[in-house]
């Protein structure tokens, strides 16, 4: 075995040197930036650090999924924001996928009308800014009647401009007593029962329909990418078009569909921050308020960036696993 060649001629040596230099430069830049920032903060008398997280937030959050009051800490308020973002992101992703799949397949229909309608949906929703769409849905939901003139859908379910109110199960006296708590008109609005706020609904509908348009196009392209021969062979075997699509084409189309769809899921997650525009208390909205009340801009932004990064990486990781399961690496066949 030859002795290790550490000279510059060795490409491995060069690789190590360059990479070490790159890491050193990035680390130095980061250190310089941090030192300069802390020095500036101290100079201006601005406090820094994450101690503010333990202080009482002082503001209320509407319809919080976790128990929360203005006495709770900023940390808890952020947790509420995080849960709110996750709620709308997860639900939105599920709806967008289902809707996108449906519309993508409709786009491929041989019925001209169906295909044209799907095309119309895709073009309109892809080409208008999401913020406009959110404001549109929010304005639409504002046109609902006030609680005093609520639309009663079923007994105990009311649709108003303050939200959809419906009964929820409660256990007032232990496990055996299951009852339905119905919303009732009292004072300014409804008391009791559960509700979905118009902010949440507008955000969910807006995000889902918008992302579904993109997913529809991805599905369509994925299906078209599958060899025509597969469909023909399936039909020759006696499968109907629908079954051919379901059992033969779509599973193969998934390989082409999953990577761009992952991007769309990440987009949906990031777009959920537009909640600020319509008053839904998501992570960005709560961070905004916290930032303004405490003045600790750097810590707040750093924290929220880390959280979005974590959520995004989790989505990517999950989707990559899924992708690997439907697209196992196939060795290219050597032509002999």
């Amino acid at each position: 075995m030859s002795p290790r060649d550490l000279s510059w001629n060795n490409p491995r040596t060069r690789a190590v040197v360059w990479q070490t230099a790159a890491v050193a430069i990035v680390a130095a830049a980061a250190a310089l930036l941090t030192m300069q920032t802390t020095a500036n903060l101290r100079l201006r008398g601005i406090t820094s650090g994450f101690d503010y997280l333990d202080r009482a937030a002082g503001f209320e959050i509407a319809r919080s999924p976790l128990s929360y009051s203005s006495r709770d800490t900023y940390r808890r308020a952020l947790a509420v924001g995080l849960v709110n973002t996750l709620r709308v992101a997860l639900l939105g992703t599920a709806i967008a996928t289902a809707l996108g799949l449906l519309i993508g397949i409709a786009r491929l229909s041989r019925l001209r009308i169906v295909s044209a309608l799907a095309r119309g949906y895709i073009e309109v929703l892809r080409n208008t800014p999401l913020l406009l769409q959110l404001l549109f849905w929010y304005a639409l939901l504002q046109a609902l009647p006030s609680p005093r003139d609520a639309l009663q859908l079923t007994s105990g379910t009311y649709l108003t401009d303050r939200g959809l109110f419906f009964p929820r199960p409660v256990w007032p006296g232990g496990w055996s007593t299951l009852a339905l708590e119905r919303p009732a008109l009292a004072g300014f609005g409804f008391r009791g029962g559960a509700s979905i706020s118009p902010e949440f609904a507008a955000l969910l509908i807006g995000l889902s329909t918008y992302t579904a348009a993109f997913i529809a196009e991805i599905v369509r392209e994925g299906v078209l990418a599958v060899d025509r021969g597969q469909t023909e062979a399936a039909l020759a075997l006696g499968l109907s078009r629908a079954r051919a699509l379901q059992l033969v084409v779509l599973p193969q189309a998934l390989r082409a569909i999953i990577p761009p769809t992952t991007s769309q899921f990440l987009n949906l997650l990031k777009n959920s921050s537009l909640a600020v525009a319509i008053g839904y208390p998501d992570l960005i909205s709560i961070t905004n308020t916290t930032l303004n009340q405490t003045g600790q801009a750097i810590e707040a932004i750093a924290l929220v960036t880390m959280l979005y990064l974590a959520m995004g990486l989790a989505v990517s990781f999950g989707m990559n696993l899924y992708h690997r399961s439907v697209a196992p690496h196939v060795r290219p066949v050597r032509q002999s």
Binding site: I46, G189, G295
Partner: protein, 304 residues
């Protein structure tokens, strides 16, 4: 430099808003113009940066603006923790509510269970939360950042009441599609004093802003207005002489021209004039903001 960079609101009638000709007008705007008159000799040497409640402090802290004059409540947290200096108070106010008359709400206590629109990052948001907690009442907040959209949500019926500083509520009511349908509640649930904010790194700047604001109050107390100040140059009253710069040398101590206060009153006016042209047309009364000798709480040190 060459001009004062002034942070104002995105449009609060009476305090900082654009008039139909595109000029900034308001009580807070006049503070910036007064400072410009004192320091640069010309009240027009100001550039305005409209800021939302959420942006205002970061803009000041990073040096994007020299002076924040934007209906900002002076609080311990802002003074101590954010490192902002508030040299003077230019308006005493209170957090109030505007509600629909049809709801038959007489006072803030009747708002138990109501939905209330607020803007994020304001002391109003905190005051409302504190008030309701103290009186064991509940409410549902609807938090919308921009004033225009928040008031639109209130007008559309999304919330039962809108909470803001009471002086601004008169303007909100005026903007309603049907002003007679709304009423501003008489209760004040907090007592926020407003004042301009600066970063304390430059002590001299803090003092200039402080004494520019005080100058406008002192002018009113001395009976000097933009129309009478020219005659005051010939006055024998030592207080007036110190004010216009004929004696005392105060301008020099601040690093300004001797007639710095004269310029403020001549170009911008005294506090009464500023109030009359900005807030009186909106139906707002001076209330606490009268001079101490007229029954208010404004009591500023004299120029001596």
């Amino acid at each position: 430099m060459g001009f004062v960079q002034c942070g104002v609101s995105t449009g609060i009638a009476g305090f900082s808003a654009l008039d139909p000709q595109g000029h900034w007008r308001g009580l807070d705007v006049d503070v910036c113009r007064a400072v410009a008159a004192a320091v640069l000799g010309d009240e027009a040497k100001v550039r305005f940066t409209p800021l939302t409640a959420a942006q205002r402090f970061t803009a000041l802290q990073t040096g994007e603006i020299d002076l924040l004059s934007r209906v900002t409540t002076i609080t311990f947290q802002r003074d101590v923790q954010l490192g902002i200096e508030f040299p003077a108070v230019n308006w005493y106010d209170g957090t109030g509510f505007i509600v629909r008359k049809a709801l038959n709400v007489r006072s803030a206590r009747d708002l138990n269970g109501a939905t209330i629109c607020v803007q994020p990052g304001t002391t109003n948001e905190l005051d409302v939360a504190d008030y309701f907690r103290t009186h064991a009442l509940t409410f549902t907040p609807v938090v919308i950042e921009r004033l225009e959209e928040a008031t639109n949500a209130y007008f559309a019926g999304r919330c039962d009441a809108f909470s803001q500083d009471q002086s601004s509520l008169a303007a909100v009511r005026a903007r309603a599609p049907n002003p007679d349908e709304h009423v501003v509640l008489p209760d004040l649930i907090s007592k926020p004093p407003y004042g301009p904010g600066v970063m304390p790194a430059d002590m001299r700047w803090t003092e200039i802003v402080r004494w520019s604001v005080y100058a406008m109050f002192n002018a009113e107390e001395l009976g000097l207005s933009s129309t009478t100040i020219d005659r005051a140059l010939a006055s024998d009253d030592p207080n007036v002489q110190r004010f216009v710069g004929k004696a005392g040398g105060f301008g020099e101590m601040l690093g300004l021209d001797a007639d710095w206060a004269f310029k403020i009153v001549k170009q911008v006016g005294n506090y009464e004039e500023s109030f009359s042209r900005n807030l009186k047309p909106l139906g707002i009364e001076r209330g606490y903001n009268r001079l101490w000798k007229d029954g208010g709480v404004v009591y500023v040190p004299a120029l001596r």
